[in-house]
């Protein structure tokens, strides 16, 4: 079963503390955790995101939508990166999430199951198209 571990920093203070950590130290800490996931044979994919300040938000609350530079809403709503892991139960995902490095008060890891395409109606035209696309790009 695939689960996404979504890494969130939910307070300005926690975000500020993160900036004070030595970069090499951070690379090593995260690298060790990544290696643990790889060595355990459970890691499928992982990405981290560039700072939210570099981002742009399209807000559909008005017509036409409003485009603004910078982070989406409050810090507590930010999404900073993810791990995709393949483990037998959500409990295993929880135990891995607890081991996420670089954490302290204000850090949260959200765990979401990632359904497979087999769970959707296979005779649906759009699911068939999606399957063809996944096939051509090597992801299922």
């Amino acid at each position: 079963m695939k689960f996404m571990l979504i890494w969130r920093v939910t307070s300005d203070e926690a975000w500020g503390n993160l900036g004070e950590i030595d970069f090499d130290q951070m690379l090593e800490t995260v690298g060790r955790f990544n290696e643990e996931l790889i060595n355990a044979g459970v890691l499928v994919a992982a990405e981290g995101l560039a700072p939210a300040e570099e981002g742009v938000v399209v807000d559909f609350s008005s017509e036409p939508p409003v485009v603004t530079d910078g982070p989406y809403g409050e810090t507590k709503e930010l999404f900073n990166g993810f791990y995709l892991i393949n483990v037998p139960t959500i409990q295993d995902a929880i135990e891995w999430a607890k081991r996420t490095p670089m954490t302290a008060a204000g850090f949260k890891t959200e765990i979401r199951r990632v359904p497979t395409i087999d769970e959707f109606p296979q005779d649906n035209e759009w699911i068939k198209k999606e399957r063809a696309w996944r096939e051509s790009t090597g992801q299922l």
Binding site: R32, N39, A40, G41, N86, Q91, I94, E95, D118, G138
Partner: protein
């Protein structure tokens, strides 16, 4: 996440950490069987304590500390009658909080040396799959020690009573002790034979999982997935061994076909009739990457490499007709030389029939007729009937297929044969 009894959390921690805990305790006590007992005791204690007090911050450290405390108790008990243990009990550092609520983590402990964990895991693999053990014992011990499965889970996976699994594990530990098997990665001179044993145990776990057709599959642990995980672990620990990558490739490429191997009513769909769009492309990509590593070693393919290369031929083909059957025949030639077997010969004959036509394959199939491997098996008459059908020898084809239907014990496969017969 509702887990009112905390049991699921304990089980999950155990799946993640059993190998390093048992590895560390084995190094600590110098006794694998004792370490496994101690680890199980620590696990039992967690099942009582965690639901009451919550999962500790460092669950693996907690389990290790409890295990070590139990080790000291055991040595003290034994020291009364055995000088060796008396000396050990004297020298062992107590470390950690031996009384009170939560045993503290042991971050600086030599037991938790990260550089040692890989060697320990590998040593556990080689110990659990030691040639003095039967295959069944090796499978049970590997799943329990490296996979972190409970005896219950193993029993459910193999459809045997829990007591049987427990007895197998107890006996296996006694056998290892009696044989004086050292806890180590075997020296280079013994490595090829010992590694072959490890790989065969992992492959057996996979085939057991992938052929799971009986029993209630819903409650069966995903053995095939666990075998893939074990192969991934091995490929990280022994990157210099091409056959390790080959085994991983074979498992990935075989598992890639799982989504297509059952029809809407749960019936078996044979390779030639599978909807190839349903094959798992990411598994194929992973399998090919693993096989490329084996190829890059430049030593030619071994037992698993040849099978993985055959699986790759299928994975790359968009249909049966477009499959590179000439290459598959050559790979079966290699496999037949390396590990002669009538089953390989039969598969090779099928490949020959696809590469050169049924006339070339029929004598090969007929030459296998006397083989004990196919005594009372539907496989030989099934293949023979198919070849005769393609040659237009309908009466002979009917006789062969009728025989195959009669001998076939698997209901779903029999249905496929019966359909062929009806279509003659």
């Amino acid at each position: 996440m509702s887990d009112p009894t905390g049991r699921k959390a304990v089980a999950a921690v155990w799946r993640i950490d059993s190998a390093r805990i048992i590895g560390a305790l084995t190094r600590y006590t110098g006794d694998f069987a004792l370490a496994e007992d101690l680890a199980q005791e620590a696990l039992a204690e967690a099942l009582v304590t965690w639901p009451r007090e919550g999962v500790p911050n460092n669950p693996a450290g907690w389990l290790l500390t409890v295990g070590r405390r139990r080790a000291i108790d055991a040595f003290r008990r034994r020291s009364a009658r055995d000088e060796k243990y008396a000396a050990m009990a004297h020298h062992l550092p107590e470390g950690g909080a031996l009384t009170g609520a939560e045993p503290g983590p042991a971050p600086d402990d030599v037991l938790w040396d990260p550089d040692q964990i890989d060697d320990d895991t590998l040593a556990l693999m080689f110990t659990s799959c030691h040639p003095v053990l039967s295959r069944e014992a090796g499978v049970a011990l590997t799943l329990r020690v490296i996979g972190g499965l409970t005896s219950d889970e193993i029993a459910r996976a193999f459809l045997v009573p829990t007591a049987t699994v427990q007895a197998r594990i107890t006996r296996a530990k006694k056998t290892l002790g009696a044989a004086g098997v050292p806890f180590e990665v075997p020296p280079v001179s013994e490595r090829p034979a010992r590694l072959a044993q490890v790989l065969s145990v992992v492959y057996l776990i996979f085939t057991e999982g992938s052929s799971a057709s009986s029993g209630d599959e819903v409650i069966r642990f995903d053995l095939a997935g666990e075998a893939q995980r074990l192969a991934r672990i091995l490929s990280r620990l022994m990157p210099e061994e091409p056959e390790v990558h080959s085994l991983l490739a074979l498992l990935e490429l075989t598992a890639a076909r799982f989504p297509a191997r059952r029809g809407p009513d749960g019936e078996t769909v044979l390779l030639q009739e599978q909807d190839r769009r349903r094959w798992d492309r990411s598994a194929i990509a992973r399998g090919r990457a693993a096989l490329a590593k084996a190829t890059d070693a430049g030593r030619g393919y071994g037992y698993y490499g040849l099978q993985a290369a055959i699986a790759e031929c299928h994975a790359l083909a968009s249909s049966v007709q477009e499959t590179n059957w000439v290459r598959i025949v050559a790979l079966y030639d290699g496999l037949g030389r390396l590990a002669p077997s009538p089953v390989v010969d039969l598969n090779r004959a099928v490949a020959v029939s696809m590469a050169q036509g049924p006339a070339a394959a029929l004598p090969l199939v007929d030459s296998l007729a006397g083989s004990d491997a196919f005594k009372d098996s539907h496989q030989l008459p099934g293949v023979r009937g198919e070849l005769l059908r393609r040659l237009g020898r309908v009466d002979e084809a009917r006789t062969a297929l009728e025989q195959a239907v009669r001998l076939c014990g698997n209901e779903r496969e029999r249905a496929v044969l019966a359909r062929k017969l009806a279509e003659l």
